[in-house]
Symmetry: D2
Subunit: 471 residues, 4 copies
Amino acid sequence: MTTGMTMDLDKPRDECGLVAVSGSGAAAELAFLGLYALQHRGQESAGIVTVDEKGAPRSHKGMGLVADIFDDATLKGLEGSLAVGHVRYSTAGRSDLRNAQPMLVEYQDQPLMLAHNGNLTNAQELRDRLSREGSIFQTDSDSEAIIHLIARSRRQDHDQKVDDALSQAVGAFSVVVAIGDTIYAARDSRGFRPLVLGRLGEAVIVASETCALDIIGAAYLRDVRPGEVLKIRDGHIEELRPLPPAEPSACLFELVYFARPDSRVWGCSVDSARRKFGRQLAIEHPTEADCVFAVPDSSNSAALGFSETSGVPFEFALIRNHYVGRTFIHPTQAGRDFKVRVKYNPVRETVEGKRCVVVDDSLVRGTTSRGLVTMLREAGAAEVHFRVASPPVRFPCYYGIDMPTREELIGANHTVEEIREHLGVDSLGYLSMEGMHAAVANHGPFCDACWSGDYAAPLVDLMRRKEMQST
Amino acid sequence: MTTGMTMDLDKPRDECGLVAVSGSGAAAELAFLGLYALQHRGQESAGIVTVDEKGAPRSHKGMGLVADIFDDATLKGLEGSLAVGHVRYSTAGRSDLRNAQPMLVEYQDQPLMLAHNGNLTNAQELRDRLSREGSIFQTDSDSEAIIHLIARSRRQDHDQKVDDALSQAVGAFSVVVAIGDTIYAARDSRGFRPLVLGRLGEAVIVASETCALDIIGAAYLRDVRPGEVLKIRDGHIEELRPLPPAEPSACLFELVYFARPDSRVWGCSVDSARRKFGRQLAIEHPTEADCVFAVPDSSNSAALGFSETSGVPFEFALIRNHYVGRTFIHPTQAGRDFKVRVKYNPVRETVEGKRCVVVDDSLVRGTTSRGLVTMLREAGAAEVHFRVASPPVRFPCYYGIDMPTREELIGANHTVEEIREHLGVDSLGYLSMEGMHAAVANHGPFCDACWSGDYAAPLVDLMRRKEMQST
Amino acid sequence: MTTGMTMDLDKPRDECGLVAVSGSGAAAELAFLGLYALQHRGQESAGIVTVDEKGAPRSHKGMGLVADIFDDATLKGLEGSLAVGHVRYSTAGRSDLRNAQPMLVEYQDQPLMLAHNGNLTNAQELRDRLSREGSIFQTDSDSEAIIHLIARSRRQDHDQKVDDALSQAVGAFSVVVAIGDTIYAARDSRGFRPLVLGRLGEAVIVASETCALDIIGAAYLRDVRPGEVLKIRDGHIEELRPLPPAEPSACLFELVYFARPDSRVWGCSVDSARRKFGRQLAIEHPTEADCVFAVPDSSNSAALGFSETSGVPFEFALIRNHYVGRTFIHPTQAGRDFKVRVKYNPVRETVEGKRCVVVDDSLVRGTTSRGLVTMLREAGAAEVHFRVASPPVRFPCYYGIDMPTREELIGANHTVEEIREHLGVDSLGYLSMEGMHAAVANHGPFCDACWSGDYAAPLVDLMRRKEMQST
Amino acid sequence: MTTGMTMDLDKPRDECGLVAVSGSGAAAELAFLGLYALQHRGQESAGIVTVDEKGAPRSHKGMGLVADIFDDATLKGLEGSLAVGHVRYSTAGRSDLRNAQPMLVEYQDQPLMLAHNGNLTNAQELRDRLSREGSIFQTDSDSEAIIHLIARSRRQDHDQKVDDALSQAVGAFSVVVAIGDTIYAARDSRGFRPLVLGRLGEAVIVASETCALDIIGAAYLRDVRPGEVLKIRDGHIEELRPLPPAEPSACLFELVYFARPDSRVWGCSVDSARRKFGRQLAIEHPTEADCVFAVPDSSNSAALGFSETSGVPFEFALIRNHYVGRTFIHPTQAGRDFKVRVKYNPVRETVEGKRCVVVDDSLVRGTTSRGLVTMLREAGAAEVHFRVASPPVRFPCYYGIDMPTREELIGANHTVEEIREHLGVDSLGYLSMEGMHAAVANHGPFCDACWSGDYAAPLVDLMRRKEMQST
């Protein structure tokens, strides 16, 4: 899977997935399988760090897919009963191994490891202060500040130092810190990003999504709660003093697009949430049609929901090619819609002469969707009705999702009618904000900043930059 | 994608896909995209050979996936307006680059290339004779005999030499031979394996399936007919004398499993054929149930057909992980069903407490299916009813499909009741032979040897071996 | 070592070195070490093929240096008591693995291997004839014709077929052919290129130079004689009927430059031959000077000989950097003589203010020499006297040495005075043809075609090409 | 060149070479060439870091040889007019890229780079203190402490911070620190390791040896003095306040073995120093003999000096194979002296029946020498007299040279007579300490700790460890 080819260019990208294992003789193996199941959360680099019997760290990282980076030999070399694993996308563009996580440093003769999902909104402020005080930064990553905060804390013991450090971090963090044989797992007070707790025999597992528990046959215990700090050693779990409380603000985009449909996120089946979005969408934007189908695979559930409520028959009309590679080819003669055709092909017999409803989970730039529509028209579709199972994305995310800039967000700059025209479809309908919230009303409260612009956690660095510019 | 992980261990494997381009300034690019679309037909090695302006061959081959083997630079180096491309699995176990196709040799100061899908049933006999006469073989491949037959033919010109060579070949071959600037495209008289003809502007395209035409925006002209030999130069197509006629015998497994659902094979939409198999299966093996779902993705169409006819609601209850790598991990602690869990995960909310119908397109060894069933039971399925949208596979294929040996074919050695018990399901139903043929009655006649044991083309080498053993 | 950096651009290049081992449980290891010692004869590719207990071939080849291509694992995989190894340069510019030797084909269900040092002067003629008769060529190499001649021979057994094939080859060949468990080692009737015979315990070793015997501790038995064909099996040596006799014509350039100084070639110590060339050079071109030094390392012996006879003190005034890599850097700012400075640096204290004699073994293009002279002048040399321990190279070699074209041979197009001026030296002296022959009068007769233009073996292909051009 | 094969196992290993360029548009190219010339000082890893126009760092490092690690593309990517380069061996056994230099960190929004030759004797003490204060260490290297000392310094500006840091370092350091566009070059007060200053046009070059200046055609200005701290920006050089003075103590092993013979080290031609060692050796240990020769190449100068004074004719009797690879083969059948034979081969004609004097520059373990002697005996040498152009090595080095442990130092545990017997030679003579010093009496004072055990700089960490053990 390649950066260029496999990622949905029209989708925002999650930045990370993480897994940690305590108290298992097969810690690295379990971490590997967990990362394998979390691959959709980050396809650029992956790493696993363990602590062996003598307390020495074992680390293996690489660029690319989990299954390409690790093999039997590397896993065997990752000895120890504690493992921390991480998959990531680059955010700031620096996509080299230096930024790959888990981060590993020597801390008072012990290995200290960190794996982070989310984004600190005061990372630069922390960095500036720490640098002034003599800390040397090795990476561009916002996560590194947490390590220095721990190392420089004047507090007594590790528990307190970790608390001290996390209390200074603002923004989104679901994080695992391991020092020696002890794992600290925590979520920021608003709980933007997911983190779940599981058990397999004696072992404790922490992971971004429940699918990482399923793959190893571990039982799901519960979510790590917003603001919670857990201390895990040899399979035992202890609840430390929580971080200062705040209004929870769980990311709703996880349900819309990011999480795997077989995962439970925010205590809710992802598949059934999407099914409800699709049903609500059918109510809000009904249409006469011969068939309804998804842009596979992330929209499958929503399309099926739309079909159920509307009565329009569900079809597999777009076939997706999953064999993609690590390099990106730029054909000179293959035409404008090449990137879409490489990935999708319509089933001509299914769409020819038909009034089609295409359901997509979200619309970010609109480029892929436009190519898809062209393709469907060429295959003979009589009408194309586009339905989006979430509202128009209009604002960037500062809590750990890599969104295009506002300029590139088609929903930020155009009316629905303009977008309809741009896509070249007969009708276009977005799920309403109210409809989306109503569909998952039993859960939440949710962060919907990318649709509404309501940012729950202070955007410290952004404000500082604006102040500087205005001075 | 890796040999170990991506292939369905429980499925037979096709051996090859091929594409040829004549008369395009972007021949290598088009061949690349064609192979990319045909990746499902062979994931072990891929190659493209072109002939440049000076008549010199340019070749690039590698082990692995198309998108990993080629990049902009290698494609740019493949100059010329004629290209032949090939993807393959190894059959005889020798899986190295030496056997990768297209084969390329110097023949009378011109490059001669060959790409072959199928299997000659008299390959060893030909090889023995040619070796006695002084031919030196470079590969293990049955395909190489065709090259030597051309080179040693006493006939006058290339057209006749190709005819001479193909007339001596017995068994299954959809083949492209290029000599200098000329392409010969042919199918054996029974037409076991597919081959289609397309056009893009001035260029002529030959490919195993229509999806290879779609990806480059080429128009589908028609199938190459059984026994037909076409001569293609600079985009012009000429029909040469056909091979001696025989009763057509198109591979039905292409419709059941191999071909992409968006392809037309045997003049028939693959998706709609599978839909019909599913509908017929619902008629033959109805059951009370709460939901029906596919083993994704190859069984999607059949499962939807089953749902349509039975009225049982269609669901996405099994999620497939497509992020697989080139290496195969063998976890020591991950348990027996690890291989299945790495690939599939059930949506617990969808199956819990439900009477489930699982539809698979075919059943070969039964190992994956058994693991799936265990997984569904653990996720809380109340009942599991297994439905197979084709009859029990009972015989090996000698015409280009890599089947397990008879000992490994669960259908060859067990009754349906025994298999039901082995899988641990509440009921099991296979599509009947009559039902399968009826569903595609407008097409054919078909080869159904792997179900019936009726082999259309003589098994020359097999008979020789048996004679030797009996002597 | 890289093509660009390690080869002396100003030197002709030998094309090959070979080694064969029969009757040793460590055949591949011995072949590896032999190739390692013969690395100077070919640095572009290397390969070893063995025949294992079951008669199956094991092969490993690669581009680059012997020590980079093989490791413990690859050697361990090369099972069997018979091994054939080869190092080579490309001649015709096609420098890919396809042409790497030993060649390996299946021949009547046995592996047939060939390793060749030399160049057939009727290769194209043979190739044309064989192609017309239906042979398929896999490589550009002239050596492949020998394989087809064996395969197509109508003679009775392998001994006769090998004789039949070699009798049709014209030009230079020191060759090893292995069929199954039998090795045939032969030299053409004129014996252009070397081949020696050694024994280590039960094992028989065939190699290009004696240094390949020394490295494994094998005893030198004798040279393979011109026209001789030896059959070696399980350590036993049998002399077959020799090829038709001809006047011997041993390559004198082996003594001048190619062979390692610690080897015995043509029954003569290479070091002492070069010492004699140097002594004779001092007699023919004496000069007043403060020091004499070599262009290291190939000219060391000649420079010491010059010092002995002239009484001018020997010095190490040029230091050679041996750490060279596989890639070639083209600095944009490093100046014209960069390539020379990367390789050599003068010892300023030794040359400053001194009258220097520089001894080189041969002068082909003159580019390196010119750069060296500039460097010595800049280091303060008062006078630079250049002495070449062989006559001016004026003609291309057709017997296995890769010479520049006549246009590039400085000696073919310029008088000694012109060359002196070009190099910018105070005086220039070449060893005379008579002096060179006199120095090695106890050995020979020798081929001196690159100096004299007297070609002993007919240049069949060259004549044919000229005839065609004149028609 | 490989760790295993190319290094003289019987020699101590230098740990590093460095080069820095200021004020050149081709800074990376010049640094590359400089490292290329310094390759003998470290063959395990190499790196270059530049600072581009925008002040951003560009870095490329790799394991292996300079010429293998860099190519045109990587050099082109290393934009900027300031470059720092480094080659190294691992000391503490951790030989991975993480420890490769130059080290690069972000320091107050500027890149800070460090390249270090030498060894701090209080590295662990500094590290312990810095860790307690919250510094996070990324490497095992003693050099990293210097970076943290700079970052944590309370002093005002960069000049003072660098001074502050270096003043706390004890032991041996020739070091280059670059912050933004400024280079600081310094040597410890005793000046254990070399560092020279050169100029090429507007550019200033700092390098370990003068051969790095020669390769780029730069003029040698002078040595950086012991205790001197230079500040270099845009080609301008400024002398800062020197470090506290101490008695100079230049490493004499640089002249004996490490430095290239074409370099000037300690203001002295390396070749002529070695020549003098050889002459003095001939005076101290004369012998009747027919020939004298070197263990090439490092002993060439000494052997020639021995010949001059003794009148015994100089010969090239041992030929060294320079074609070595990156991997190390362990033949199972090749015998005990395999490692020696792979590297050296005697010229039989030169040694057969002769009384031979072998000159080596130093003797550390004695294993290679013993193999050489066996080899010479087998080649027929009548007598073998071994002469070593330095005294017996008896003590480890703590100032930047990687010596075997005392247990492995043959000179530390055996009398000369025992060693003579062990080597199997007819006589053995070492240069005396007095003779060695007398030969270079115009230079110095020198550190001779590895022969005498007189350690000039305090061994802080060693003392601490001993204290801890004794407690």
